[in-house]
């Protein structure tokens, strides 16, 4: 891994003098350095050479640093490379905008080479620590031999989280599960996941993911970062061919911001307090297969009374034989509309009863999780 090679830093600046100064300073300190004097070249090098860190000038003709980082973050091959901005501008809005786009730090010009070295090594250390944290979490989970029974959380246990759930497991070793995580007083995480296959390994993996959720849902992590860390561990521990689809939401009840991440899971349903129910369609990779992963992400400003429903595919695939997805979800949307005035704690069960009433033999587990703002 990282120990086997010299750390590679990509420096990007349209001013040849700055480029040369950075190259000289960094290579003197033992780093391998590649450089680019424009955005498109920088992106190509990032993909081809996979640097451990990128120092990126903001003010460049044609494609500026903001455009470059946006494209880097959008591509799964380069999204995890830490980027430090170099800038002569020191106003706070510009800086915050850069952080929002995914930069890890800023170096203000004129920069002192020693400051560049200090910041570069700090962020390389952080990045290495994150990677080894992932490795050690995977190690720990591998060591769990006996799966202790972990209680599924209930609305009564966490009334502040304002949710309701319907959970039906076909057998002990079901692939579906859910969790509700208190992240801070006003922030909660909601998770619905479905492992491929039903075997005893699956139920042990369910516990592993719940442990991972607890470890990686801390306040400092954005929703997609939590999912990314879980994916990194799952890639290490999952047996071949096994994967997880999931929907994860982080709701801040104070700022009314909701972020939903979708990883190959059926679309969530959004029932606004003053509008018609809709599905939130997003593309996203499944968890546990790809080291570099792309998630669907949906950010929305919510208001009091808005509801969201997450569910597993058992719901829309089993209530009618050979039902196709669009039809299944149409009926589900209608059901979510019907329970609009039912308390959220009871709504998921009502939905399940409506959809499953004509169906005696269940083929899959079912989870429905309802959240109210």
């Amino acid at each position: 891994m990282i120990e086997d090679k010299r750390l590679l830093i990509l420096v990007v600046d349209d001013n040849p003098l700055n480029l040369k100064l950075l190259e000289t300073t960094l290579s003197k300190d033992g780093y391998q350095v590649v450089s680019a004097d424009n955005g498109p070249d920088a992106r190509k090098i990032a993909v081809d050479e996979k640097p451990d860190l990128i120092l990126l000038d903001i003010k460049m003709p044609k494609e500026d640093g903001f455009k470059v980082i946006k494209k880097l973050k959008e591509s799964s091959a380069t999204s995890t490379i830490p980027v430090i901005f170099l800038t002569g501008v020191s106003d706070i809005d510009t800086k915050l905008f850069g952080f929002e786009l995914g930069a890890v730090d800023y170096i203000t010009k004129p920069f002192h080479p020693r400051e560049v070295l200090a910041r570069a090594s700090l962020h390389l250390k952080l990045s290495i620590a994150t990677n080894s944290l992932i490795a050690s979490q995977a190690q720990k989970l591998r060591q769990i031999t006996e799966a202790q029974t972990s209680m599924l959380t209930t609305p009564a246990m966490q009334p502040q989280a304002k949710f309701g759930v319907y959970f039906l497991a076909l057998n002990e070793a079901g692939g579906d599960f859910y969790d509700v995580l208190p992240i801070s007083e006003d922030i909660f995480g909601y998770f619905v996941g479905d492992f491929s296959g039903h075997d005893i390994k699956t139920s042990y993996l369910t516990l592993s993911v719940k442990a991972l959720l607890k470890q990686n849902s801390a306040l400092v992590y954005q929703a997609h970062e939590s999912m990314k860390m879980i994916n990194d561990v799952l890639v290490e521990i999952l047996p071949e061919g096994k994967y997880l689809t999931a929907c994860y939401a982080r709701l801040n009840r104070k700022t009314n911001q909701m972020t939903i991440i979708n990883a190959g899971h059926p679309p969530a349903i959004f029932v606004p307090s003053d509008g018609k129910a809709v599905t939130i369609e997003m593309k996203g990779d499944i968890l546990g297969i790809f080291k570099e992963i792309y998630f669907g992400q949906f950010n929305i400003e919510v208001k009091s009374g808005d509801r969201f429903y997450f569910y597993s595919d058992g719901l829309i695939e089993s209530f009618q034989e050979k039902v196709t997805w669009p039809i299944g979800s149409d009926e589900l949307i209608a059901a979510c509309e019907d329970v609009r005035y039912v308390p959220v704690q009871d709504a998921p069960e009502k939905i399940a009863n409506m959809l499953l009433k004509n169906n005696s033999k269940m083929k899959d587990d079912i989870v429905i999780l309802g959240i109210e703002v």
Partner: protein, 105 residues
């Protein structure tokens, strides 16, 4: 001006620093020419751009006086005030000549 000192402030050997200063003189002259051209065309935005570039590179190498002058030029141009620019350009050229003289020694 003590190039050895300026270099060691940056943690660089003298010859590494000299190499950088040589490159600096080329880019700085280029910046000043662009600045002058933009000034003659009364293009305040381009003046500010070239001054910004020179401010950064001179500041990075520790030529603080030159960096300050460039900063004034950038700010004035930002306010569309080009009155003093020709004097500032003159002063920039003088600084560059001094640096070149040091290199020649």
């Amino acid at each position: 001006m003590d190039l050895r000192m300026l270099g060691s402030n940056l943690g660089l050997e003298e010859e590494e620093f000299v190499e950088l200063v040589e490159l600096f003189i080329t880019t700085a002259k280029n910046d000043i020419n662009n600045l002058n051209e933009a000034f003659l065309k009364r293009d305040a935005e381009k003046v500010a751009e070239s001054a910004h570039s020179l401010k950064g590179s001179s500041g990075n190498l520790g030529f603080t006086e030159l960096s300050k002058i460039s900063n004034i030029a950038e700010e004035k141009a930002g306010e569309e005030d080009l009155e003093l620019i020709d004097e500032l350009i003159e002063s920039m050229r003088k600084h560059i000549a001094e640096i070149e003289a040091c290199l020649g020694k």
